[in-house]
Assembly symmetry: C2
Homo-oligomer: 347 residues x 2
């Protein structure tokens, strides 16, 4: 399929079980509309100068919702390096009454409604307004990842929290409303839809092949970079151009169980991938998401659940086809994106 694969091809992945259409020709279509939103990656940030009005900046802690914990600055200064705080405008509320056990897992697939209980936190990654995550050294990025892991561990203790979605929005076109470098996490009283479909798909693959979908990935064509503990790939059926997955090389279900050494290794790779995307795509808006396993999974599910971190640069707007069908159209073949990303110097 060598020749055909460079015209058009449909692929289904073994993690979400989603079809994606690869169509390089699509990128040549014309437009007579003025702005294409995210299609023009633009520096969404303001001029980067410290903003007197930014509540995430050093010295403005009192304008934030309550702090959950902080990572002190490495020297003996009274200042901080990272703060994990409550979201002032939470989507789910920690004060709400958790769903009672009987409505915890509402039966059947019919309509249902539960109170808006949950945890919505913000991780302020640096005290400085103008510093971006990948400007930090690997240890600084590692500190942020360790802060995620520590907070997820805390939330995992709560009997009504079923899942924690860790994510980062960078740039207005990636949804960010705050410019100061931060990420978020939401602890939900239900297992979210994509987590469910990921588990179902990986279970099916495991039952038919005896393999974990992520452990089974072999191809060198889609590899961007590798460390002792992690591989960075462009997935075989990437939904978005230049999408990257960072996957632990050793089978492991839960992100928050990763030990400190491995987290530092991950931090270096994450920093390098963000630098590559930044160079190749001219500082694009992007999101990243950590895909882990829901809490309290039966041990029979552990062999096929494998956590990973997904990075998605936001280069184009989604249209009605994707919204209706759940099938994305990606103009860039994963092998081509991986080759380009492999060859970029990330320093």
């Amino acid at each position: 399929m060598a020749e055909a694969s460079r015209t058009s091809e449909a692929r289904r992945d073994a993690v979400f079980g989603r079809w994606v259409i690869f169509s390089p020709a699509r990128s040549r279509r014309p437009t007579d509309l003025k702005s294409h939103g995210p299609a023009n990656p633009s520096p969404d940030l303001d001029d980067g100068a410290p903003k007197p009005s930014c509540p995430f900046c050093l010295g403005r802690e009192s304008e934030c919702a309550p702090e959950i914990f902080r990572v002190p600055a490495p020297d003996a200064s009274p200042s901080w390096q990272i703060r994990v705080i409550e979201n002032l405008f939470p989507a789910l509320r920690r004060e709400a009454e958790p769903p009672a056990p009987e409505d915890e897992e509402p039966v059947g697939a019919g309509e249902c409604a539960v109170r808006g209980f949950g945890f919505h936190d913000v991780v302020i990654e640096t005290p400085h307004h103008e510093v971006r995550l990948w400007d930090l050294d690997a240890e600084g990025v590692g500190g942020v990842l360790l802060a995620y892991a520590r907070r997820v561990q805390q939330l995992a203790e709560h009997p009504a929290v079923k899942y924690v979605q860790v994510f980062k929005n960078q740039g207005a076109s990636a949804g960010a409303s705050m410019a100061h470098s931060h990420s978020q996490m939401l602890g939900t009283p239900f297992v979210p839809p994509s987590v469910n479909s990921r588990l179902n798909c990986m279970k099916e693959v495991f039952e038919s092949s005896g393999k974990c979908s992520l452990c089974a990935i072999q191809s060198k064509d889609i590899l961007v970079s590798e460390t002792h503990n992690f591989s960075a790939i462009v997935p075989f059926a990437a939904s978005y151009p230049f999408e990257i997955w960072i996957i632990p090389r050793q089978h492991s279900s839960y992100f928050h169980e990763t030990d400190q050494d491995k987290v530092l290794d991950l931090a270096g790779l994450l920093k390098s991938m963000l630098q590559k995307l930044c160079k190749q795509l001219n500082d694009p808006p992007f999101n990243y998401m950590i895909h882990s396993a829901p809490f309290g999974l039966s041990s029979s599910c552990l062999p096929y659940t494998h956590w990973f971190l997904q990075i998605v640069p936001q280069l184009s707007v989604i249209g009605g086809f994707e919204m209706g069908s759940g099938c994305h159209i990606n103009p860039v073949f994963p092998e081509d994106a991986a080759k380009i990303l492999r060859e970029i110097d990330s320093s």
Copy 2:
């Protein structure tokens, strides 16, 4: 849950089985980022004047990919009212060899790839550059819907086409690259992911309750408008603020089997909903999608498949939480959106 429902609530629908978080407080969060993309609904179109460079305009037919059929103008003029043409930059190619029966439905849930066979067509809804779909009279809108149905009927005949996604992108933030009013359809050699999960969810509901999820909808609170044959509602677990579903009141699996009288009735309701959205939301970018059943379904599936048309105004950018979890955060409760839409005059 009356009081709580106005703070925060999570709901799961009975059609896609997706959780959505309703959180009115979220709409009050501040932003220090300059442009929020789609969050500022703006007239994405150019000044609306006929564009000498637009290939969809009357007289420029030769700049388009081949015509499939046209609907002639009602008077005896040699002109046309609607054209269905091939997409010049197709995501899937009609010349590609269709997948062989053995790789038609690739077994298991593992990775797989098929040739990019399929049909990608464009429906030019009017010969005039400046006319929007809802500027047409109900008969004109009906003509467009009948053109969809006719083309879907043709594609349904092809043994390798499993589904046709009909959709419209209006405005750059909704993905449109062409300003001239048009819609598209893509006939795929696989059943797309969201269609699969919709069918699975509706099947489960049917098996546990004996009811079709859409026939079971009762609440008057979420009703926007009704005709003899169709209801327009804001769905109970709408993913997007002011999302509208137009649903045939009589159980029916396939959009393309709707008879001409009913299509005209649908056209009037669609026009009125688009006018309401346009008034309430200041001419927002939007998408609509027709959700129908895949072709060649066994007759045992017909009792729980029910087609509908989904309209989604694009008011905000999706962030990492939604991308990672598949769970949307919607600041507007469906009952509130429905009340507002009910009260707007659509003439």
